[in-house]
């Protein structure tokens, strides 16, 4: 086998090049196929009657008028579908003690959040289905709602599942060292803050949706799915709709954004599949924006009380915190809603050397939309706690925040090692990343200008974050706990008769450029021009088995499988070429579509070779059995996750009259190992940073005390728009992971994980001369003014 150096150094390599995506052309010409573009013969449309209450008993449902309405094909209640769909429970065994209750696609007996589907109408058009929804009369008896996570565990709080006796879903304690003794030491300064991280949500521009088609002649269910994990959904449909797994085909064509939103089990989508099976015809459900806000998973929702102790000389002695996370009325199936809190417990302070650590996490049920894994699961919380406290401590002891990080960041030559919480870390570069960042932004110059601006009454702030990101998860993430979620991915590479490559992979495309990097890896490693590679992803019938694209795993795991498959096919092709050319394979290579000598002179085109194999096998010796197809699978071993690191900084200006924050510039230095395509990676990071800024400054799901979602429209829920967003400068350090030949780690979530902490720190830096600080996200103008008022009162 030719060695790894060859793969990256050969003349027609593509790994590392900013190649534009081949599939951009299709999307730019309006030729994409998103799920709502799918039209099938005899297709009917679903709409749902949803609970208007946060918590209510369903006394009766009268759907007679709806049933008789124009175009209505079927009407189903929760009880109706419960006869055909087994309930699901969002628990996993490795999250010891996690509790939830069985969930049905449509509410049965009790509705537990505003927006929970209660009745399904299927009609010949969506408009007629919606008309019929108006004719369904549901008699509810409202129940007291547990809305506020802070009071959800109080005695006397309404209990959402009486069988569980309380609203506690999960708790975990982590204790390392002796934090009390560390904080009590004579020269230690302790800072303490209460952080609040509001609920926000994904707002994928394409709403959730599905088209499900059932063919009774073959007992075959085909699901057009806008999502990230086709094979996981195949198992779920099989298990709960009582169909053989192999009779379910899940196809993910173009996906209009996902970010972790479209990777969960949603009742309305399961109901759509059930209806297709019952009606024996295709059923389409496309959520409208209101339905998306009310039922897409929400994210974050943490209240954290946290302390950090720092010596006079700037050494962090430890972190102590208590995290309360509100998850809605159920733990989401099948990934659970405890992973977010678990990540916070595992990752807080992971870039820093510290000996003492105490963390308590509690996850509680509430009558709100379900909360679950969204881009950068738990990371923004973990990074904001540690780096928010770090900069607070820096102010307290009068030290520059970069200098304080320099003292405490793990040294770049100290790996492999573990974090305080026992996370295995390797191939990280915190110190180099921070230095590169301060150079990139001209830190000293920026500080000097900040001082000048302050003299003119302009309040600017600079804030940093040093961060880690969990990427390339191993089976330890889900598989170990019993979830039907593959941690390995597969890749197949096939040489066709014309000398082109057809590759397929179990990772999926939602705009990251998955297909583009798969083609780059295959083309470069095997040796054809990039335009001779055709890529298939997102179809359980035609791709190898695997996990999909989530947890920043696509490039690192799916990319490595593709590298290995391309290398294997190359070896197989060279074996055939060696026989045909009667020469040793070690003297041959494949470059730009031809078998060549090592020096690159062409001996035989791949088309000639393939045509001989496919059409004129008689010309080959009988004992040669050419295989012009190769498949390889890859999973991460030895490490539970492959961590990346990064350093980011924000420059902001706070208008102290209005409370508005303007982000002037943002910088990110990211070490995601080997960069396969810098153009795509940079845009992943930029998009991630902007979602992080959204969570830090704008995005929040507001609820009334009785559990009504108050701003569930795009006009009322603020997301970052072009005019508010800064220019974002990106730089890289490349420390390849030793867990693979490719050396790639994930990059898709870093921006979202790190930006909120950097923005928080920058705002507090700007406010510090006024004696004010803010510890609540989003940092809205109103909250900033309140913190300034508070400072005035003090």
């Amino acid at each position: 086998m030719t060695g790894p150096a060859h793969i990256f150094d050969k003349p027609n390599r593509y790994i590392g090049k900013p190649e534009p995506r081949a599939d951009a052309a299709r999307l730019l010409q309006g030729r994409g196929t998103y799920v709502d573009d799918q039209k099938l013969p005899r297709m009917v449309h679903a709409a749902f009657v949803r609970s208007p209450h946060a918590h209510a008993t369903i006394l009766s449902i009268n759907a007679e008028e709806a049933r008789a309405a124009t175009g209505v094909v079927a009407v189903y209640s929760g009880e109706d579908l419960a006869k055909h769909v087994t309930p699901y429970v969002g628990t996993l065994t490795h999250l010891a003690g996690l509790r939830s209750m069985p969930q049905h696609p449509l509410a049965v007996g009790v509705a537990r959040w505003q927006g929970e589907p209660v009745v399904m109408i299927v009609a010949t058009s969506r408009a007629l289905a919606e008309d019929a929804c108006e004719l369904v009369y549901v008699d509810y008896a409202e129940l007291p709602a547990a809305v506020d996570s802070e009071t959800a565990l109080d005695t006397g709080a309404p209990i959402i599942h009486s069988e569980l006796g309380s609203n506690l879903a999960w708790e975990r304690d982590v204790v390392v060292g002796d934090i009390d003794a560390a904080f009590a030491a004579p020269d230690v300064h302790v800072v303490e803050r209460q952080f609040r991280f509001g609920r926000h949500t994904g707002v994928t521009l394409e709403t959730r949706g599905t088209v499900c088609d059932y063919d009774p002649s073959e007992d075959q269910l085909t699901v057009y799915y806008s999502g990230q994990a086709p094979h996981m959904m195949q198992v779920i449909f099989s298990k709960h709709l009582d169909l053989p797994e192999e009779n379910i085909r899940v196809i993910s064509n173009d996906v209009g954004g996902s970010f972790g939103i479209k990777i969960h089990t949603y009742g309305d989508e399961i109901a759509t599949a059930a209806a297709a099976k019952l009606l024996k015809r295709p059923v389409k459900f496309i959520a409208d924006r209101f339905e998306s806000f009310l039922t897409d998973i929400h994210a974050r929702d943490h209240i954290v009380r946290a302390k950090m102790g720092v010596t006079e000389a700037g050494k962090i002695v430890g972190i102590d915190f208590d995290d309360l996370t509100g998850i809605g009325p159920f733990s989401m199936y099948p990934r659970t809603s405890a992973i977010e809190c678990n990540q916070v417990l595992n990752l807080t302070g992971a870039p820093y050397v510290m000996e003492n650590y105490r963390a308590k996490g509690r996850v509680v049920f509430q009558n709100k939309t379900l909360m679950c894994q969204y881009r950068a699961v738990g990371h923004p919380i973990a990074m904001a706690i540690a780096d928010g406290l770090l900069e607070d401590a820096a102010r307290k002891i009068g030290m520059d925040p970069v200098a304080l990080r320099e003292i405490n960041l793990m040294a770049d030559d100290s790996y492999p090692r573990t974090s305080a919480t026992g996370m295995k870390l390797d191939d990280l570069s915190h110190k180099r990343a921070l230095r590169k960042l301060t150079d990139l932004m001209n830190y000293d110059g920026l500080r000097a200008r900040q001082t000048l601006a302050r003299k003119k009454g302009i309040y600017r702030g600079i804030g940093f974050v040093s961060m880690v990101e969990v990427t390339n998860p191993s089976p330890m993430f889900y598989g170990i706990g019993g979830a039907p979620i593959a941690s390995q991915d597969g890749a197949t590479v096939r040489l066709d008769a014309g000398g082109a490559l057809h590759v397929s992979s179990s990772i999926t495309e939602q705009g990251q450029g998955t297909n583009a990097i798969l083609a780059q890896i295959a083309a470069g490693v095997f040796g054809v021009d990039l335009n001779r590679v055709k890529v298939t992803t997102g179809d359980t019938a035609t791709t190898p088995y695997g996990g999909g694209t989530w947890a920043s795993r696509g490039a690192g795991i799916g990319g490595e499988a593709m590298l290995q498959a391309a290398q294997a096919l190359k070896d197989q092709v060279l074996e055939v070429a060696g026989v045909m050319l009667q020469t040793g394979v070690e003297t041959l290579d494949i470059q730009s579509g031809a078998v060549t000598d090592i020096d690159g002179s062409v001996r035989l085109t791949l088309a000639d070779l393939a045509r001989t194999v496919y059409y004129r096998g008689n010309e080959l010796p009988n004992d040669l059995n050419p295989e012009l197809i190769a498949t390889r699978h890859y999973r991460v071993t030895d490490f539970p996750f492959v961590f990346t690191n990064g350093a980011m900084a924000a420059h902001v200006e706070v208008d102290i009259e209005t409370g508005f924050v303007k982000v002037l510039h943002f910088w990110a230095v990211e070490d995601c190992g080997r960069v396969i395509n810098p153009l795509l990676v940079d845009e992943q990071i930029r998009g991630g940073v902007v979602q992080g800024i959204g969570g830090a400054l704008y995005e929040e799901c507001h609820y009334s005390p009785d559990g009504q979602f108050l701003n569930a429209t795009m006009a009322d829920y603020m997301v970052p728009m072009a005019s508010e967003m800064p220019e974002i400068t990106i730089a890289h350090i490349e420390t390849p992971t030793k867990t693979s030949i490719l050396g790639a780690k994930g990059a898709g979530e870093a921006g979202t994980g790190g930006a909120p902490a950097a923005i928080l720190n920058a705002v507090n830096d700007a406010l510090s001369p006024l004696g004010a600080s803010i510890w609540q996200m989003p940092m809205t103008p109103e909250r900033i003014l309140a913190s300034l008022n508070q400072a005035d009162c003090n």
Binding site: R21, L28, Q29, G32, L205, A722
Partner: protein, 158 residues
């Protein structure tokens, strides 16, 4: 008022006659009746810009206009963008800068960008950001889109 209305219009250079429900909006008509699925729907209330298209040369939200109101009008959707000139330049620049990820916002974004170019918009980054602030993009962070539009303006002005 009748619940159905007869309309005749030109869509991407072709004459179209149809009888449409009076409540049907333009983007649903294009997507469902004409199978022009390049125009997208993100909010159905005029906020996100995913449905942006061109009506008689003006940039319009397809979800805020009824199909009936398009009677006698000339519509251009992404499927009808010219294969040369500024729309082709924009498509090339979007590719070069990776100014799209999932691509769901892209048809509307291109329509808005074309509107900006057609009204003589300058290569001022803030002005471009302001102009496209009616178009949500949840994936890119906008910078690459601004780069792409700037590129086209700068190329054209040489």
């Amino acid at each position: 008022m009748s619940r159905y209305i007869d309309i005749s219009l030109r869509v991407n250079g072709e004459d179209v006659r149809a009888t449409v429900p009076s409540r049907l909006n333009l983007v649903d008509f294009l997507r469902e009746e004409l199978s022009l699925t390049g125009s997208h729907v993100g909010c159905e209330h005029g906020v996100c810009g995913a449905c942006t298209l061109t009506v008689n040369g003006d940039t319009v939200r397809g979800c805020l206009m009824l199909a009936a109101q398009a009677d006698g009008k000339e519509i251009t959707t992404i499927e009808g963008l010219a294969e040369n000139g500024q729309s082709a330049q924009l498509q090339a620049a979007f590719t070069k800068h990776n100014a799209l990820q999932c691509g769901f916002c892209t048809p509307g974004m291109l329509a808005s960008a074309l509107g900006y170019l057609n009204t003589g918009g300058s290569a001022d980054r803030d002005a471009i950001r302001q102009h496209i602030s009616g178009n949500y993009c949840r994936c890119t962070g906008y910078q690459s889109i601004v780069n792409a539009i700037c590129d086209v303006i700068e190329e054209t002005s040489i």
